[in-house]
């Protein structure tokens, strides 16, 4: 794949865009089921884990400047461990992208196209992702940068739902069993998988130092936004109701009763569709970049893209129903702990990595 450098702004937009998709659509349901009205605490903890993971990867990228993630892992770990890590990372990106597509497809079918076959809608999404991937990392970064204004817009459109919020829905606060919080933590962490994108896209930036500095504020913003959305969902709909809803955030949009806006719920849905397709695209791009880095440009970029697209479609169709998809999403959280925390720690502590001089 040809070098597609990203500007710091594009890199930041890419990180932020990757957070608001399938994860945020399904997360409040799971949190409320696990910890009731205190579900937001899990988000807070997961956010802290994500920031820690991001910082670990930043440190790793600084130690091996200019190297792609597979190259870093191969320098730091023994060959079998490095190969296994790359394979796991690839699986994580592919399954995350496929599950995200599945969730977005389900939302589309549920609210927009109830009579259309699932495969047709999913195929349209996969085709879009394939088309967007032709531009490489920079193309995807530009797309995220260009559609970046949709995020504040979507938050603005959520604000009217505040009129239905009840503070009593959040009470009593902090009464949940701490063991329940910690047992739910790995699964909730899936939604914060964006820290795994840091080592994939950071080496592609024009100014990795500036991009590195921009990483933590972005991660903190994402964590704060997630906490606020979860709080809003519980405050407006109540923890019990949220725990039985498939996509509470969509219901939040539909709960808006402001005249005119109420009539345009379709446009909110369309807006979320666009927002939610970006993480699918970004994780698919990460998969292509990772494979590309691992194969060291021995396979043409277009061929890789089509292979990734085909895999995504098959993985998406293999999920028999949305409940299974949500279950997969939650189990991906454990994978996130393994790859987001354990892998960078191993690479940083590895004696092989310490011996190697930093290379430009």
């Amino acid at each position: 794949m040809e070098t597609h450098s990203l500007s710091t702004r594009q890199y930041g937009a890419l990180l932020t865009a990757s957070a608001f998709g399938a994860g945020i659509l399904t997360l409040p349901r799971y949190l409320c089921a696990a910890a009731g009205q205190d579900g937001w605490v899990i988000v807070l903890l997961s956010g802290a884990v994500m920031c820690a993971s991001g910082l670990l990867y930043l440190r790793l990228c600084r130690r091996y400047p200019g190297l792609s993630l597979p190259a870093i892992v191969h320098r730091a770990l023994p060959v079998p461990a490095a190969f296994l890590s790359c394979l796991l990372l690839l699986c994580f990106f592919l399954i995350t992208a496929a599950s995200s597509i599945r969730v977005v497809t389900e939302v589309t079918l549920l609210y927009l196209l109830p009579n259309t076959p699932l495969w047709a809608v999913a195929l349209v999404y996969v085709l879009f992702i394939l088309y967007a991937l032709q531009g490489g990392g920079r193309g995807v970064g530009r797309f995220c940068e260009m559609t970046g204004f949709l995020l504040p817009l979507s938050f603005l459109l959520l604000l009217p739902s505040l009129q239905g919020a009840q503070a009593t829905n959040l009470a009593p606060a902090l009464t949940c069993d701490p063991s329940a919080l910690f047992s739910a933590l790995p699964m909730a962490s899936y939604s914060f998988g964006i820290s795994l994108l840091v080592p994939v896209f950071l080496p592609l930036t024009e100014d990795p130092r500036a991009a590195g500095r921009a990483t933590l504020p972005r991660l903190l913003f994402v964590a704060a936004a997630f906490v606020l959305i979860c709080l809003l969902a519980v405050a407006v709909l109540g923890a019990d109701t949220v725990s039985h809803m498939l996509f509470p955030v969509i219901t939040l949009y539909k709960s808006v009763t402001v005249p005119v806006i109420e009539r345009l719920d379709l446009f909110f849905l369309t807006l979320w569709t666009v927002l939610a397709v970006r993480p699918c695209l970004n994780f698919a791009c990460a998969a292509v970049q990772l494979t590309d880095g691992a194969l060291q440009k021995r396979v043409p970029h277009r061929g890789l893209t089509f292979a990734v697209g085909g895999l995504l479609f098959l993985l998406m169709l293999a999920q028999s129903d949305i409940i299974l998809t949500i279950r997969i999403i939650h189990y991906l959280g454990y994978g996130y702990f393994l790859l987001g925390i354990l892998l960078p720690i191993l690479c940083l502590l590895s004696p092989r990595g310490r011996k190697e001089p930093s290379c430009d």
Binding site: S7, R9, Q10, T108, L112, L113, T116, V121, V124, F128, Y131, A132, Q134, G135, G139, R142, F143, E145, M146, T147, R263, L264, L266, F267, T270, T273, V274, V277
Partner: protein, 487 residues
């Protein structure tokens, strides 16, 4: 020397065998009566100037007669042709042939080495009148013509900067069309100048008939309908482009200049934006952006809403549409496509017909045929309004190439909207955005300053800030001298 003269005469004889429009005049140069031949092609030489500037002086007796050396004969002839500004000497038969075919007058004299080539271009040329498309109320009203030297002169007159560089080259194996590359040396980025020049030099085609050929042959955007160049009809816009660090390409026989690199927001800008107050300029620009969106979206949005989600429409409007629709035997997509095709046919026919007839066609088709379609229940008045509005929005786009792209995209958008409703419509726009951001013009991203984001360039993109605040040239172009004004 006699041989040289005889050989060149044979070249002329060769040419005349295949060109009946070659005029060959044999005269004698007084006082020794040296045989001379004057040859030119009829129609592309100004005969009045030829008579006054070449034939009359050549036949005038000369009081002083020097030796008959070859250099002396050329000198004597040149002294006689003082009133002809463009004179050169050639001896290669092929070069002489090429000059003759491009409007040169060949003068041969016995004893003279080579041939004198004089230029008195007399091809019918029009005066620089008002531009056809990009008209302004407050701006200048001159426009480029089909004459390359004239067009270069128009630019030079407006930009008498010694650092304005004009690089000429020939393009087209058979047409040998003159191309001029204009840029300001200390503003235009050298790598972009090299890129444009290299792409033009790479062109290998038999004929270049208009600047559109160069635009297409230098593009690397595959099958994209979007133009990555700007066609300029007015010298003031060309000068503005040069001052922004762009490269302007002028082509002989074409009244349109091209500017490279071109970014998308530029195609929605007009000269008037800068000649009026910034509020007026910004308003006009925003209006054009809205028109661009509506021109592409209106029919698709109508199809998506009526076919999939009519409940979004206000109740009264919905009832009206349902009432009208009940009399039309076709699905809404066919109805929309039918009207869209009919309107496109009318536009195309009006463009090809002479002006008065074109206007008549517009009135006849718009009123009579439109009324007949409604009466025959082939379409609802609502579709007619939607399609007509979309087409009117298309005419608000200043760039003709972009408006053609919009016409095509409008038709393409209808199909996903009919298949997937609002979802298909929004996804089509996403495809479009991804496509647009993948384009570049001579290495500059097409959607700059939005993607990639260049905040300083946004002052002159969708908005137009006051001129005193436009302190820098577009950063996305990468000018060598970025400062254009000081407070």
């Amino acid at each position: 020397m006699q041989n040289d003269y005889a050989a060149l005469c044979r070249v002329l004889a060769d040419i005349s065998a295949g060109a009946d429009d070659l005029i060959r005049r044999e005269v004698s140069l007084p006082p020794e009566n040296i045989p001379c031949v004057i040859a030119f092609l009829d129609g592309i030489v100004n005969k009045e100037l030829l008579n006054a500037g070449i034939l009359t002086p050549i036949l005038q007796p000369e009081p002083y007669c020097a030796e008959k050396s070859p250099a002396d004969i050329r000198e004597r002839l040149l002294r006689r042709f003082l009133c002809v500004s463009e004179v050169k000497t050639l001896s290669d038969g092929e070069e002489i042939r090429a000059e003759l075919y491009t409007g040169g007058i060949v003068v041969l004299a016995a004893g003279m080495e080579g041939a004198l080539i004089l230029r008195l271009d007399g091809f019918m040329r029009r005066d620089p009148g008002a531009p056809l498309n990009d008209r302004t109320v407050s701006g200048p009203r001159d426009s480029f013509t089909e004459s390359l030297p004239g067009n270069v002169g128009l630019v030079r007159k407006k930009l008498p900067d010694p650092r304005l560089r004009v690089r000429k080259m020939l393009c087209g194996r058979r047409t040998r069309t003159n191309i001029a590359l204009l840029y300001v040396e200390d503003i235009a980025p050298p790598e972009r100048v090299r890129e444009v020049e290299a792409r033009i030099r790479k062109i290998d085609i038999d004929g270049i008939l208009a600047s559109g050929y160069i635009a297409q042959l230098t593009e690397r955007t595959g099958g994209s309908p979007f133009p990555t160049y700007r066609e300029i009809e007015r010298p003031d816009i060309a000068v503005a482009a040069l001052l922004e660090g762009r490269i302007v390409v002028l082509c002989d026989h074409s009244p349109l200049a091209l500017s490279f690199p071109t970014i998308f927001p530029e195609l929605l800008q007009a000269a008037e934006d800068y000649y009026e107050k910034p509020t007026a300029g910004t308003f006009a620009r925003l209006l054009r952006w809205v028109c661009f969106f509506l021109a592409i979206s209106l029919p698709a949005l109508y199809v998506a809403l009526v076919s999939f989600r009519p409940e979004i429409l206000p109740y009264d409007l919905l009832v009206t549409i349902a009432g009208l629709r009940s009399e039309v035997p076709f699905p809404v997509i066919w109805e929309t496509l039918f009207i869209e095709f009919a309107v496109q046919i009318i536009i195309e026919s009006a463009l090809r017909l002479p002006e008065p007839l074109g206007q008549t066609i517009g009135v006849v088709s718009g009123i009579i045929v439109g009324q007949a379609i409604i009466s025959a229940s082939l379409a609802t008045p609502m579709v007619l309004i939607v399609v007509a509005l979309a087409n009117i929005c298309t005419f608000c786009i200043p760039s003709f190439s972009l408006s053609v792209a919009v016409r095509i995209l409008r038709l393409c958008m209808v199909f996903p909207a009919a298949l997937f409703g609002i979802f298909g419509f929004s996804l089509s726009w996403m495809f479009l955005l991804v496509h647009m951001q993948s384009l570049d013009s001579m290495g500059v991203p097409y959607l700059a300053p939005f993607a990639p984001n260049v905040p300083t360039d946004r002052k002159d993109a969708a908005l137009r800030v006051p001129l005193r605040d436009m302190l820098h040239r577009p950063r996305s172009i990468g000018c060598t001298n970025s400062r254009r004004a000081r407070r």
